[in-house]
């Protein structure tokens, strides 16, 4: 009797409990996650609307694709987009290659290995503006490299405002390679010792172990690091605004100068939407390549 009478009451109480739980969750999540949701959605909606001429500051208030026509036809904007993509791609490739090699080197048992392992982390705490300053004191005009080479009659190339964007890439590399090393070597540390020892016993030399075992097993970490570097390099503003060339300019610099100098929020918003879409596409590509690729062998 008790069982049949109690169970509906119990299930009712359980349902009430679950509903209360849901409210408590909502209440707890509201301040933090609610704030973030609002803080992400509002600017994105604002950008999307303003890029079509709606709700923008100084916009006509009528739907228009004028802004997109402008940025897809004007050479200033198309070259800015290409320039930013180029910088991001080159930075990512070099970062990943150097970081992987550095991780290989850290596998060698050499004296001072722990010190090197601590020293390379210095740039992790340096904000990108300061990174730009530090790199410029070394390789910029009047920098250390130029000073040291001058007595030998060697003219050091100026990396300030060079149209190839190589100066920007060097600063980005200085800033991003340590992050990449940190991620790759953390994944490398998780590779089981047995596998490495088995390969060594079977006659593989250390370089072969690194190439054939470490790199494939670290691939997901390398890809994640590459994603972070690409997104950072594509969206960077401080570095190209200071040491970038007058033409082509980075897309972030074009965007800010559109609204800071020309009060042209419509074009700036369209550029912002292009940047968001590009970043989202990169994320989707990463998901398709890595998450799916990683899931397949297991299942």
């Amino acid at each position: 009797m008790t069982a049949t009478v109690l169970s509906p009451r119990l299930s009712h109480r359980l349902r009430l409990r679950r509903r209360a739980d849901r409210w408590i969750n909502l209440l707890l999540l509201m301040p933090g996650c609610g704030f973030l949701l609002l803080a992400m959605m509002l600017p994105i909606c604002q950008l999307a609307l303003a890029s079509f001429g709606l709700f923008g500051i100084g916009a006509v208030g009528q739907f228009t694709i004028q802004n997109y026509a402008e940025i897809s036809q004007n050479l200033l904007f198309t070259s800015a987009f290409r320039f930013s993509l180029q910088i991001a791609a080159v930075t990512t490739l070099i970062s990943v290659a150097v970081a992987t090699l550095f991780t290989a080197v850290l596998q060698i048992d050499f004296p001072g290995r722990r010190l090197v392992g601590a020293l390379y982390k210095v740039p992790l705490v340096v904000p990108s503006l300061i990174a730009a300053f530090l790199v410029l004191t070394m390789i910029g005009p009047g920098g250390m490299a130029a000073r040291v080479l001058q007595p030998f009659g060697v003219r050091w190339p100026s990396f300030l405002h060079d149209p190839s964007g190589f100066g920007i890439i060097l600063v980005l590399l200085w800033h991003n390679i340590p992050i990449t090393i940190l991620i790759v070597s953390a994944v490398a540390a998780a590779v089981p010792r047995d596998v490495i020892e088995a390969a060594r016993t079977l006659g593989a030399n250390p370089w072969r172990v690194f190439r054939r075992i470490m790199v494939p097993l670290c691939a997901p970490g390398i890809a994640a690091a590459a994603l972070l570097v690409f997104i950072d390099a594509f969206g960077t503003y401080a570095i190209p605004s200071l040491i970038g060339p007058a033409f082509p300019r980075a897309i972030s610099v074009m965007m800010t100068s559109e609204f800071l100098l020309h009060a042209n929020w419509g074009t700036a918003s369209a550029l912002g939407v292009v940047m968001i879409v590009t970043t989202a596409l990169i994320l989707v590509l990463y998901h398709l390549l890595v998450d799916r690729g990683a899931a397949r062998p297991d299942s």
Binding site: M40, Q46, P111, G117, V122, I130, L134, P178, M275
Partner: protein, 281 residues
């Protein structure tokens, strides 16, 4: 991480070690030393090219940090804003971190993704969208506006670190406290809090640093009324006019708290928490 690559010849080992160490010091440490030299250049003598070391050193630039009004004001503004941002992040972040770490959630994956989005979106794009909203709301060029803007990019670090700490608290301890008659409030105060203080501390420090160093959002929302140290640094690096010595002083003033905090954080935090915190600079 233990090495698996052993080299027999001792001389070769020392040679390899030497080359790598010198290379690392040249690339990652020497620039810091050069920045210190730049901050000590005597403004009356200067430091001109063939010299590898300035001919005369002085503390004039460091005195300027307090004496030049725009620098001392930026210094005060930076630290005021960083304190407010840290407080706000604590207030907003703690409940969410608790929910993510310890409560049954239906859309946990989506919520974790949401926390990550501010780190994935280019800050300059966020700044553009937020800038025009804030102009309309009258928050542009105000401390409140800058604090809100910075909180968006700093809060994710706070939530992630506190979540990681809260996840590490064993449920047994909480159950035991409740079994022994502690009310939820007493349990939180006497059991949970002491266990997560290191994580809270680390989260607060990272939030503080994140706010101190934030540039583009502050630049777009605060300019020209609110000036923080990174904005001054940008100006001295050529954004307005190039003043190398002042740039060095401001850089070092910004780096000092960061280096101190990193030193503390490395003791308090596990490596992976730190890695999560420094995911995006």
């Amino acid at each position: 991480m233990t090495a698996f690559w052993f080299i027999r010849s001792r001389r070769l080992r020392w040679l390899i070690g030497g080359i790598i160490l010198v290379g690392t010091v040249l690339v990652f440490v020497l620039p810091m030393a050069v920045a210190v030299l730049w901050s000590l250049v005597d403004p009356e003598v200067g430091w001109f090219p063939p010299d590898v070391v300035p001919s005369r050193l002085s503390l004039a630039n460091w005195r300027a940090l307090l004496a030049v009004p725009e620098m001392s004001q930026a210094f005060a503004a930076s630290f005021l804003i960083a304190t407010l941002v840290t407080g706000l992040c604590m207030l907003l972040g703690l409940p969410s971190a608790y929910a993510i770490a310890r409560r049954p959630l239906r859309h946990r994956r989506a919520i974790e993704l949401l926390v990550l989005t501010p780190l994935m979106m280019p800050s300059v794009v966020l700044a553009t969208g937020l800038g025009s909203i804030f102009i309309r709301l009258g928050l542009s060029q105000t401390i409140v506006g800058v604090v809100l803007a910075q909180t968006i990019v700093v809060l994710p670090f706070m939530i992630r670190i506190v979540t990681a700490t809260l996840t590490g608290v064993p449920q047994d301890l909480i159950d035991a406290a409740r079994n022994l008659g502690a009310t939820p409030l007493v349990m939180t105060r006497r059991v949970l809090m002491p266990l997560i203080v290191p994580g809270l501390f680390a989260g607060a420090l990272l939030a503080f640093i994140g706010s101190l160093e934030e540039f583009i959002l502050t630049f777009v929302v605060g300019m020209p009324k609110i000036q923080t140290l990174p904005m001054l640094l940008w100006a001295y690096l050529g954004g307005r006019s190039s003043i190398q010595t002042y740039a060095a002083v401001v850089s070092l003033a910004l780096l000092a708290p960061t280096l101190i905090v990193l030193f503390i954080a490395e003791r308090v935090l596990k490596q992976e928490h730190l890695a999560a915190g420094f995911g995006k600079a």
